[in-house]
């Protein structure tokens, strides 16, 4: 489902070129649970962004479900993100002015889903992450774990095939972190492909496959 073929992502920092990704090749199959670990600056977030079509490779080929993403227009990549990919970020990135339901509705807003249907689907998604009683609270009235659960509901509400999580537990206490991981894993059990970037070896160990990165390269790849 995900095929990275000799992918480079190079940044220009002053006169120097920095290779955030250096010749990365990686294939992830449908329904897999992959953890990406490595020290800060090893390129794991960059790889996640490339996979999520938030960032483009400088060189190399990235195919998503067989389509070459590099050749897609910005418009088509937006549609891909909207319909096929869900994101969960370390800092939640909820809009503070919207309630939990409002935040979950956002992707459907762009898809042009009618208001009533939007509301119903968002409430259903919140119920699936156990947040029905908090649905009409704003993010600042929610705990960190609850915010991340709202973000997960938002990530899956469009029924994507791929769920990408960037340090999803990085800002959470132990108990909330376990809750959130359990939730992500249950999503995968429902048929999603799950890729998690993390520092946390214990959390990574829960994945079937661990990809270790260092200095922009994949160092080890396996269980």
């Amino acid at each position: 489902m995900i095929e990275l073929e000799r992918v480079w992502r190079t940044y220009q920092v002053g006169d120097a070129e920095v290779h955030a990704l250096a010749d990365v090749s990686l294939t992830i199959g449908k329904g897999e649970h992959v953890a990406v670990i490595g020290p800060s600056g090893s390129g794991k977030s960059t790889m996640l962004h490339v996979i999520g079509c938030l960032d483009r490779p400088t060189a190399g080929v990235y195919r998503f479900s067989g389509r070459d993403v590099g050749s897609l227009s910005e418009q088509d990549r937006s549609l891909l993100r909207r319909n096929q990919i869900g994101f969960v970020f370390q800092f939640f990135h909820l809009l503070p002015r919207l309630s939990a339901v409002g935040n979950v509705e956002l992707p459907m807003l762009f898809a042009g889903v009618a208001r009533d249907e939007r509301r119903a689907r968002a409430e259903k998604a919140l119920a699936a992450v156990g947040l029905t009683p908090r649905a009409h609270h704003r993010p600042d009235q929610l705990s960190g774990g609850e915010r991340q659960r709202v973000a997960i509901a938002r990530a899956v509400v469009m029924g994507p095939s791929l769920l990408l999580a960037d340090e999803p537990t990085g800002n959470l206490d132990r108990a909330s972190a376990h809750e959130v991981m359990a939730l992500l894993e249950s999503m995968r059990a429902g048929g999603l492909t799950l890729v998690v970037v993390t520092h946390d070896a214990a959390l990574a160990a829960r994945a079937r496959r661990i990809v270790t990165m260092d200095d922009g390269r994949v160092v080890t790849d396996g269980a």
């Binding site: 938030l54 993100r81 807003l109 898809a111 042009g112």
Partner: protein, 398 residues
């Protein structure tokens, strides 16, 4: 994305950031209010001057002794002949002339009992009322009579009447002007200042009596109302020709209101230019204000733009949201500003009722156009720049 959803989302964003929205609206509103209020004052000044001239009456010709340039340059040739009551009679008989009124003027003290007031005393005839569109408030104006016959009648301006008589009715009372006694036959209606004379603060007596009183042989002016407005210029030539025959020299000047107006054309042009200057400076200030607020607002929200893109919003959808926000801000700010500007002017006019301050329509239109244009350009341009970034770059700020 549905249009209504775009509006609702944009509205939500504005309501969600009350302080920032309030500042933006205030920024736009202050600029627009400044344009509206300042141009209203400028336009008021322009209209005030115009009104002063049109108060003269549009069919009015004024004959004055001496050949002078209408632009007010020094007279040449001097005053060869007096302008007499006989000249006035001759002019009144011209076929193109409707009514005419002679005018002799001097300042004298009008006394009643132990009260006195130094005011301009105007010697004229009954027709003065219709020539200068004056209105009599009580009693009547000077009686129609042979201008060579003097008379003991006097008509008071309202201020003179109230200064000398207080709340008493002056009608029928006898006042003294110099050694002469006059019987009050009328009081003018309040009118206020009109080009040179305060019509509330003067008195009228029959012209022959005035000339004897002032010991003058020449009239100050002859005011002429031409029958048909289109014949102003022929009538003027008739008068000049008549006076040339009578005086055997071209020693009078006949001016029309149009001539006066064109003489003052430069003042009017300067006023109009000043008005345009005021308007463009305040528009520029308003524009820069709006620009700054929008730039800061959008730059602050790059993370939000990144998030919206990550959630599958296309560049166009994200731009549409920011465009809607900018338009709402500009419209609300514009309406608030126009309201505030009009309110300020209303207060001003309430305090100074005689000053016709009112914002010209073009200034309001320009203000609204500029606020919309600047608001939209600087609301959307930085947003456009932000959407061009890869969402990850925009999201990088946490």
């Amino acid at each position: 994305m549905r249009a209504l959803d775009v509006l609702r989302f944009a509205g939500g964003a504005l309501v969600g950031h009350r302080l920032r929205t309030g500042m933006s609206v205030a920024g736009v509103a202050v600029g627009i209010a400044a344009v509206v209020a300042l141009t209203a004052l400028g336009e008021g000044a322009r209209r005030y001057v115009l009104q002063e001239f049109t108060a003269l009456g549009s069919n009015l010709l004024i004959t004055l002794p001496g050949k002078v340039e209408t632009t007010g340059a020094a007279p040449f040739g001097g005053v060869a002949h007096d302008l007499t009551i006989d000249d006035f009679r001759a002019i009144s008989r011209l076929p193109r002339v409707g009514r005419a009124a002679p005018l002799a003027v001097a300042t004298e003290t009008v006394r009643f009992g132990d009260r006195g007031r130094a005011v301009p005393v105007l010697g004229t005839t009954a027709d003065f009322v219709s020539v200068r569109h004056a209105r009599v408030g009580a009693g009547q104006f000077l009686p129609a009579a042979d201008p060579d016959q003097g008379g003991q009648e006097i008509v008071l301006g309202v201020k003179v009447a109230s200064e000398l008589f207080g709340s008493e009715s002056p009608l029928g009372q006898v006042v003294r002007v110099g050694p002469w006694r006059f019987r009050v036959v009328g009081v003018l209606a309040p009118r206020g200042r009109g080009l040179g004379f305060d019509f509330d603060d003067l008195v009228f007596v029959p012209v022959r009596t005035a000339m004897r009183l002032f010991n003058r042989s020449s009239l100050f002016r002859i005011l002429i109302e031409v029958r048909v407005h289109e014949e102003m210029e022929p009538a003027r030539r008739d008068i000049v020709e008549l006076m040339r025959e009578r005086h055997r020299a071209e020693d009078v000047t006949v001016i029309s209101q149009d001539a006066l107006l064109s003489a003052f054309g430069q003042i009017m042009r300067a006023l109009t230019l000043a008005l345009a200057g005021i308007a463009s400076v305040s528009l520029a200030v308003a524009g820069v204000g709006i620009m700054n607020v929008m730039l800061v607002s959008v730059t602050e929200r790059r993370a939000e733009i990144g998030l919206l893109k990550a959630l599958g919003g296309t560049d166009r959808q994200v731009l549409a949201v920011f465009l809607a926000e900018a338009v709402i801000l500009a419209v609300v700010g514009g309406v608030t500003g126009i309201g505030a500007g009009l309110a300020a002017i209303a207060v001003f006019v309430h305090i100074y009722p005689s000053f016709p301050a009112s914002p010209p329509a073009w200034a309001i239109a320009a203000a609204v156009a500029v606020s919309l244009l600047v608001g939209v350009v600087f609301g959307v341009w930085p947003a456009r720049r932000a959407t061009r970034l890869d969402p990850v770059t925009a999201l990088a700020r946490r």
